[in-house]
C-alpha cells in the first residue's frame, strides 16, 4: 500500500510538473524590438537604454500573471541615419515583432519615422529629442516618452538671461540634432531679448580638432559658449577651450548629460551647464525601484540619462500588448488613448502627435564631478561662481 502510495505520489508529482511546464510553454511568445546606438561614440547611452529596456522585459517575464512570454530583439542604429533606416526596415518588416522602443539619436530617429509609418509598426521613442520626430508628421505609429528640445532650450535661455550673461557663441553639430538645438536656442535667446548670439559655428559630428573655430570664438570674446551636440565632441571642445585659454561658461544640452562627459574631462568639467527633460532618475516616482532593479542585474554600464525612459517605453509597450494582444493595429489604437498613465518617469500623456507632455526640465551644473541640480548647487547658492559670473 505504502509502495503504491509512493508511486501514485510520484506519478502525480510528475504530472503536475509536466502540466506546469505545459502551462508555461502555452504562453505565447511575443517579440518586441529595441533600437539604439550600440556602437560608436554615444554607444554608452544606447547600451544603457538597451539594458533598461531589457530589464523591463525580464521583470515582466518573471511575473507569473503575464499573458505572454516576451522576447526582445535588439538592433543597432549606430547613431547614423542610413543605418537607422536599414534596421528600422528590418525590424518593421518582421511581422513577429509587434512594437519597438527606438532611438537615442535624433538624426537616426527622424530618418526612421517614415519607415515605421509605411509598415504600420508602432514605436515609442525613448531618447531622441528633436521636435520634428513627433511633430513633422502626424503618424499614429510614432510616440515619445521623453520631451523635446524646445522645452530644454527655453529653460537654458532663461537661465542664461537670469545669470546676466550678454554674449553667446554657438557651436552645434550639423546633424538634424545639432541644427535643431541651434534653431530653438537662438529663438529662445531672441525672445528673451537681453543676450546676443555673437557667432554660430556648425561642426561635423565626428570632428577632432576645434582649435580653428575656437580661435575665432576667442576673438569674439563671448561670456558663454553654447554647445548643441553630443558627448564625444563636447568633451573635445571643452578641453580645447582650455588649451586656447578660452575662459567662458560651457553651456550644453541633454546631449552631454552622461557620465562619460565627466569621465572624459575630469576636473575641467566643473561648472558646465546642461539641461534635460524630466526629473533626474533619483527623483523620478519610480527612480528608486528602477535603480535597485537595474543594479541587481549587474550590468557593466550605468543606465545613463535616458535609461529610465527606455524602461518606461518598453514597459508601456508590454502593458499595451498585455491589454489588447499582440496585434500592431490594436496596439496603435490603444496607444492613442494614453492619458495620465503612471510610469517610473511620472505620468505620461500623449498628445495627438504621440508626444508625451512633460513640462519638467531639469537644469544641471557639474559640481565636483557630478551632475547636480542647479537649484541645489553651490553655484545657485552663490558659494561658487561660473566663469565671468557677476
Amino acid at each position: 500500500m505504502m509502495k503504491s502510495g509512493k508511486l501514485a505520489g510520484a506519478v502525480i508529482a510528475t504530472l503536475v510538473i509536466t502540466l506546469a511546464a505545459a502551462v508555461a510553454e502555452a504562453k505565447d511568445k511575443v517579440k518586441v524590438g529595441y533600437i539604439g546606438p550600440l556602437t560608436g561614440g554615444v554607444s554608452v547611452n544606447g547600451i544603457g537604454g538597451r539594458n533598461s529596456a531589457e530589464l523591463a522585459v525580464k521583470l515582466r517575464n518573471a511575473d507569473a500573471k503575464t499573458k505572454y512570454d516576451y522576447e526582445m530583439i535588439v538592433l543597432d542604429d549606430e547613431c547614423k541615419p542610413n543605418v537607422a533606416v536599414q534596421v528600422a526596415t528590418k525590424m518593421a518588416a518582421d511581422k513577429e515583432i509587434i512594437a519597438g522602443a527606438t532611438h537615442y539619436c535624433s538624426a537616426a530617429a527622424i530618418a526612421a519615422v517614415d519607415t515605421y509609418h509605411k509598415f504600420g509598426f508602432p514605436v515609442i521613442v525613448w531618447g531622441a529629442v528633436l521636435p520634428d520626430i513627433t511633430y513633422r508628421n502626424k503618424y499614429a505609429e510614432i510616440h515619445r516618452v521623453n520631451g523635446t528640445m524646445i522645452n530644454q532650450n527655453d529653460a537654458n535661455a532663461e537661465l542664461i538671461h537670469k545669470l546676466g550673461f550678454k554674449t553667446i557663441a554657438v557651436i552645434h553639430d550639423t546633424t538634424d540634432y545639432g541644427k535643431g538645438h541651434n534653431e530653438y536656442f537662438a529663438k529662445a535667446i531672441e525672445r528673451g531679448g537681453k543676450a546676443k548670439i555673437v557667432g554660430t559655428f556648425g561642426v561635423t559630428a565626428d570632428q577632432q580638432d576645434f582649435t580653428a573655430e575656437l580661435t575665432q570664438i576667442k576673438a569674439l570674446n563671448p561670456e558663454v559658449i553654447y554647445f548643441g551636440g553630443l558627448t564625444p565632441i563636447g568633451v573635445r571642445i571643452r578641453s580645447q577651450m582650455d588649451k586656447l585659454g578660452l575662459n567662458a561658461v560651457f553651456d550644453g544640452t541633454s546631449g552631454i548629460v552622461s557620465d562619460a562627459f565627466i569621465q572624459g574631462l575630469g576636473p575641467l568639467a566643473e561648472g558646465t551647464l546642461a539641461f534635460r527633460e524630466g526629473a533626474p532618475t533619483n527623483k523620478l516616482p519610480g527612480g528608486k525601484f528602477f535603480m535597485e532593479n537595474y543594479n541587481a542585474q549587474k550590468y557593466d554600464n550605468p543606465p545613463e540619462a535616458y535609461g529610465a525612459f527606455a524602461y518606461a517605453a518598453m514597459d508601456m509597450l508590454i502593458d499595451t500588448i498585455e491589454k489588447v494582444g499582440p496585434d500592431r493595429k490594436k496596439v496603435i489604437a490603444e496607444l492613442a488613448n494614453v492619458k495620465d498613465r503612471d510610469s517610473i518617469v511620472g505620468k505620461i500623456t500623449f498628445d495627438d502627435h504621440g508626444q508625451n507632455m512633460v513640462p519638467v526640465i531639469t537644469k544641471f551644473v557639474i559640481q565636483d564631478g557630478k551632475f547636480v541640480e542647479w537649484d541645489e548647487s553651490e553655484y545657485a547658492a552663490g558659494k561658487r561662481k561660473l566663469p565671468g559670473q557677476k
Binding site: V44, T174, G202, V203, A212, E213, T215, K218, S239, L244
Partner: protein, 306 residues
Amino acid sequence: MNAGLFAQYVMNGLMLGMMYALVAVGFTLFFGVLDVIKFSHGDVLTVGAFTALATYVGLTSAGLNSNWLALVIILAVAVMAMAALGMLIARYLVMPLRSAPALNTLLITLMLGTVLRECVRLFYPQGANPKPFPALLPRSSIDLGAFNLRLDNVLMLSAGVLTIVGLQFLLNRTRLGLAIRAVAQDEETARTMGINFTAIVLITFAIGSGLAAFAGVMNGLYYNEINFGIGLYLGVVGFAAAIIGGLGSVYGAVLGGFLFAGLQTVGTVLMPFASAYKDVFAFAVVIAIMAWRPTGLIREKISERV
C-alpha cells in the same frame, strides 16, 4: 585680423600639420619599400595612443609620480609595442600577399584597421567613451593677447621636427637608410647586392608604425583626450597628405601634412561658409592638386601612378 590671432591660427595649423605629417611619413615609407598602401596605419596610431594610456594608468597605480619619467616610459612602450605590431602586420599580412594584386593588401589592411579599432572599443575598459589623456608636459603658457603660446605645444613641435630630421638622417646618412632606399628603388637588385630584403621591410614597417605611435601620443598630449576613432580620420588625412606630397617621398609627406592642415585652417577662417565644410574644402583642393600633378608635388625619380 590682428597679429596675435594670426599667430594662434598658425600655431593651431602647425600642431595639426605635425600630426598629419608623422602619419603621412608612415604611408610613404611603406609604399617606398613594398609599393603597398597599408590602410590600418591610422588604427595602429589609435592602438599606440591607448597603449600609452594603459601604461600610464599602470605607472600611476604603481606609485610613479614624475611626469617626465612617465612620459618617457609611455612613449617608449607605445613606440616599441607599435613597432612590434607593425612588424607582425608586415610579416604575416602584407608580405605573404606580395604576389597577389595590390588591391588585396589594401583590402586586408583596411579590414585589419576595423578589427584594431573595434578591439580598442570592445576590450579597453569602457573603450567606447572618450578617454582623458594625462597632461604630462608643463602647462605653462604665455598670454600674448589673442595668442596663447603654450610651452607644451612648443615642446611637441620641436620633438616632431627632431623626429623627422632624425628620420631623414637615418634614411640618407646610414647604412640602414641606404639599404631601405636600395630596396625602395629596386627589390631584385637590392637582393643581389646582398641586402636582406625581409629584414629591411620589417624594419621599415617598425619605423613607420613607431612614428604612428609617436603621433598617437602627441595627439593625446595635445587634445588631452583620445577615443577609438581618432586613427580613422588621421589615417585618411595622412594618406591624402602622402599622396599630394608624392608617395615615396618623405619631404613630400611632410609638405602634404602641413599643406592639408593649412587648407583646413583657411577653410575655417577665411572661407565664407560654415566651418563644418572645411574638410570638404580641403579635400576638394587635394583633388584639384591630384588632377594637376597626378604623382604628387614632389615627384619620385621614376614616377608611378597610384
